[in-house]
């Protein structure tokens, strides 16, 4: 892998000096890494959400005609749960069943908000109607917004898994395979793949992941890629 121009930026503003990549500071909170490899500009951030600094960094690169990984389109498709599952299913990835509701859901279900204020990291598993009610009131803004539900079997387990350029640190093979597939479709360099395991893994959502949440092995993978020691 070639070592093309690279840069780091934070959200401190126009005059903020670049931060040199070195151990301990590479994954500082809010830092956005940029690497140009093979004609593509890779943006590595702990949060690509809509209207964040990383989102706008990618948008401005797109407006300059650069091909970025991820693109703003990738980000919106990844983080809006029903869109994510529709696109993933079309690409052959096993996904959870889902529906849209504004009030009632079958239980147990995983619930995700769909609104200006929604964040896919804030999902809830509701197992009975009594506990579902307050959760639904919260995510539907007291009846203002519809939301996404995913019915799951009683025995199902929600399994989060960090994927760094599609690679995982210690996930079992089927889950590692799912994470790699998800990266090939959505191209989000740093993400948490939320899956449901019930004999096999099914994609539930993709969420941002903070650098501080990475394990030592995961940090090692990411720092290695940023330093150009291993390929994406």
């Amino acid at each position: 892998m070639d070592r093309d121009p690279s840069r780091e930026s934070g959200s401190a503003g126009r005059g903020a000096p670049p931060v040199k990549g070195n151990a301990g500071r590479v994954l500082r909170r809010d830092l956005i890494h940029e690497r140009v490899r093979g004609g593509l500009t890779y943006i590595i951030s702990e949060d690509y959400s809509y209207k964040t600094e990383a989102y706008y960094r990618i948008l401005t690169l797109e407006m300059e005609g650069k091909e970025t990984v991820p693109s703003t389109r990738d980000i919106l498709e990844a983080y809006v749960v029903p869109v994510c599952l529709t696109r993933a299913k079309g690409a052959g990835i096993p996904v959870c069943e889902w529906g849209i509701s504004d009030e009632r859901v079958p239980v147990p279900s995983i619930l995700y908000g769909i609104s200006y204020f929604a964040d896919p990291s804030e999902y809830s598993l509701v197992r009975d109607l009594e506990t579902a009610d307050p959760v639904i009131k919260y995510i539907n803004g007291n009846g203002k917004y519809p939301f996404c539900y995913q019915p799951v079997p009683e025995s199902a387990e929600i399994v989060p898994c960090v994927a760094i350029f599609g690679r995982t640190a210690d996930a079992p093979e089927p889950l590692a395979g799912l994470a790699a597939q998800v990266y090939r479709v959505f191209r989000v360099p740093l993400m948490e793949v939320i899956s449901v395991f019930n004999g096999s893994y099914r994609l539930s959502s993709i969420t941002p992941v903070r650098y501080s949440k990475l394990s030592r092995d995961e940090k090692g993978i990411l720092e290695g890629i940023l330093a150009g020691e291993c390929s994406e």
Binding site: Y50, K51, E53, T60, M63, E77, V80
Partner: protein, 301 residues
Amino acid sequence: MSRLGVFVDRQTLGNSEQLTALIRLRDSAEEMGHTVYFIFPVEIAKIGKVDGLFIRSRTDPMNISFVAAKMAELRGIPVIDDPASIQICSDKVNMYLHLMQEGVRIPETVFVRKGEVTEKDAADLFRELGSPLILKEPSTSFSLRVEKVHTVPEFLKTAKRFIKLSDWIVAQRFIESDFDWRVGVLDGEPLYACRYIIPQETFKIQATVNGHVVYCAVKSAPLGQVPAPIIETAVQAANAIGGGFYGVDIKDRDGTPFVIEVNDNPSLEAGEDEHSPGLYKKIIGHLLGEGETPAGSGPAR
């Protein structure tokens, strides 16, 4: 003939004007021999069964209308508004970047980042853009989160509120006017025009003044009576976004047009199209491909 889906939600049906507009839409489609299906969010899977989709609910990349647009696009169903138009128009930063790239005249504009909401940066902006200046949170619609600020403390107070919702916000030179032109453009063709008369109590088309909401008056205008530079600028601005259906807002300062914004999903319930009676049929014909190229689901232009 064909099945037209109209995506609506509770808010769309929230007042009699919007209901009347939807009934006019349905009647126009039926006169053309089409069947109309109103699709609510909980029925979103039905989108796969229609031949064209017209979204009539508030659009934003984070809400259900974007899901509807994407579901149509992924199935190859022509849709207004297409997802890319929603993504661009719902975010003022994205929208102004597209307008600037195509050389569309807009008020002098600066994007302010989170780290730039400081006394020094505010003072620099007033020097650069004059006073007052306009601050916009990028997801604003119906003039919500658009404020006029006159001083550095006012700037800081408003900008700090907006920056909690977006890492970038918009600062613009203020252009005073009694009205905004609104020109509706479909796939590069002007369809209708009207004036939004700014209420005396405010500088926006809609505002809360002393606890009361004041709205602009809407005066429809025949396209032939609209100054040519306004129409040309509207088409140029719409084309900078894509090939969908847009409402372009323009201020005329001494004969020079400035685009204030390009709206996807433009309102049609306040008489905007009074002088353009065939409006709905043109939109439906475009979506369902009657004698014209179907809209497609992308904004390519």
